[in-house]
């Protein structure tokens, strides 16, 4: 295992120190492992928190700041944070207008946030929850855990952050969040596994010449394995299942080509070029985009595609100013 760390046990503690030292937008509660906006939002506005396992940086801590999240709870590596972290964050950021919890659909995240929401309700705080469940690699079904929450989370956090900043009510913010969640789809692939520091070796073996299609963001194997193909074919394997799942024509689309952490930017740009060609041929109009490492899986090489079927309000909220380590424009 080759990593810039002191010891597998200290990775998150140490990284939080560096985040606090480098990012002027945030302060860190090291005991609870919660990253807060250094300049809290004005009182009376809806607050937004998210959180999840660590190892997906810049998500979520890099999205704390003006126009996006009020707090992010950092779990252990790939492990949902605990209800007490979420309760601390919820209590701290609430200024009376209520708190939205953005939860990626993983059994652990769902249960921990659920317990936190129960405790917060008990403490008299109004909490709503929106689930992100956008990974088309996973078949949805009544009898399963449903789809994983992946890339749409990034777009959702930006858009609802702007909605809250505008002063929308908790019900309105939640409705926007739900609309984003309903209209986002993602699909990912990996060229390599990742190495969880505590495990010390790659989560799965992926021989030279092979790739995994339909991976999530936790180094888990994908839906199937096949020989490595060229970027054009890989782009098709990401675009096709997304377009098969939802109609993306006739609306402004926000597209994200996301790196899994170990893939250099030049390859992500190259993939974006292939994706946009396929989308153009399918009559999909991309109005806004992100290309880069936004929701990662430690050092995994690979990428994911997220498409959001947006509307005018979402585009307006997307364009609003944001000031976080991970996304910044307009100020």
């Amino acid at each position: 295992m080759k990593k810039l760390i002191n010891s597998p046990d200290d990775v998150i503690t140490d990284a939080l120190k560096g985040i606090e030292a480098s990012d002027g937008n945030v302060r860190v509660d090291h005991e609870n492992r919660v990253i807060y906006r250094s300049a809290p939002k004005e009182a009376g506005k809806v607050a937004i928190i998210s959180g999840g396992g660590s190892g997906h940086e810049p998500m979520h801590g890099g999205f704390v700041g003006y126009g996006m999240l009020d707090a992010a709870c950092a779990g252990q590596m790939f492990t949902s944070p605990t209800p007490d972290q979420m309760l601390a964050a919820t209590t701290t950021v609430d200024s009376g207008a209520g708190v939205l919890h953005i939860v990626k659909n993983y059994t652990g995240d769902v249960m921990n946030f659920e317990m936190a929401a129960e405790l917060a309700a008990d403490a008299g705080i109004e909490v709503t929850t929106v689930l992100v469940e956008d990974d088309v690699a996973v078949q949805d079904s009544l009898y399963t855990a449903g789809r994983r929450g992946v890339g749409t989370t990034v777009l959702l956090e930006k858009i609802v952050g702007a909605a809250a900043e505008e002063g929308m009510t908790l019900a309105e913010v939640t409705a926007v969040a739900q609309r984003v969640s309903d209209n986002g789809r993602s699909m990912g692939m990996a060229l390599t596994s990742c190495t969880v520091p505590a495990a010390g070796r790659p989560t799965f073996d992926l021989p030279e010449g092979e790739m995994e299609i339909g991976i999530g963001i936790h180094g888990e194997p994908g839906r199937h394995r096949e020989p490595i193909a060229d970027a054009k074919s890989i782009a098709k394997q990401l675009v096709d299942p997304i377009l098969a799942d939802l109609d993306f024509t006739g609306a402004p689309v926000i597209a994200m080509v996301n790196g899994m952490g170990g893939t250099p930017l030049i390859e992500l740009y190259l993939m974006y070029g292939e994706v946009i060609e396929l989308l153009g041929a399918a009559g999909v109009t991309v109005e806004r985009n992100l290309v880069g490492n936004y929701i990662t899986s430690l050092d995994m090489a690979g990428c994911s595609l997220t498409l959001l079927r947006a509307d005018d309000e979402m585009i307006r909220l997307w364009d609003s100013p944001v000031q976080t380590a991970g996304l910044r424009w307009g100020r």
Partner: protein, 210 residues
Amino acid sequence: MSADELTLDQLADWLRRFAELIAANKDYLTDLDSAIGDADHGANMARGTAAVVTHLDDATTVDALFKKAGMTLVGTVGGTSGPLYGTLFMKMGMSAGSVTELDGPAFARAFRAGLDGLIARGRTELNDKTMVDAMAPALDALDAVLAAGSGLPAAIAAAQAAAAAGRDATTPLVARKGRASYLGERSAGHMDPGATSATLLFDALTDPAA
């Protein structure tokens, strides 16, 4: 356990042995979770059970012991197993009440209450390829042997065997809950990590020194 009652000390020892077994099997549990999950079940359970051990001497009643264990697990494990094992013990504590020992039927009732809470929290069923697949048959066996009047030690032995059988039976299953469900058919052929740690919970009921 050789007696027909479980004292507070014996129940604390149970949790201590569970932590020891988890620590000894940490890498194994993580290996199992690497195959169909995210390679953290060993680290998660080891972190949580080690934290539980530091509080065992504080409790003067069974409900305090189990509730504290449950809350500690919820507060330190995270992920899927934190809320599930945490709920198991918190509900066990509530069912057990403010007593200093449990006889066989009371122990079985408390455990059943815990499992019901876990199942409600996890919205899971038998054969979803989860920890429930080890726990549920184990508790059924516990109940059955106790009902037959064979006493707690025999019931525990039967529960252990049933847990192990339930755990082994997860191998061919296609997961319908938890992270392994994302693998679809590829989840078949691997033993479930949570069912494996749950089996250790029953193994821990036998005092190796007894």
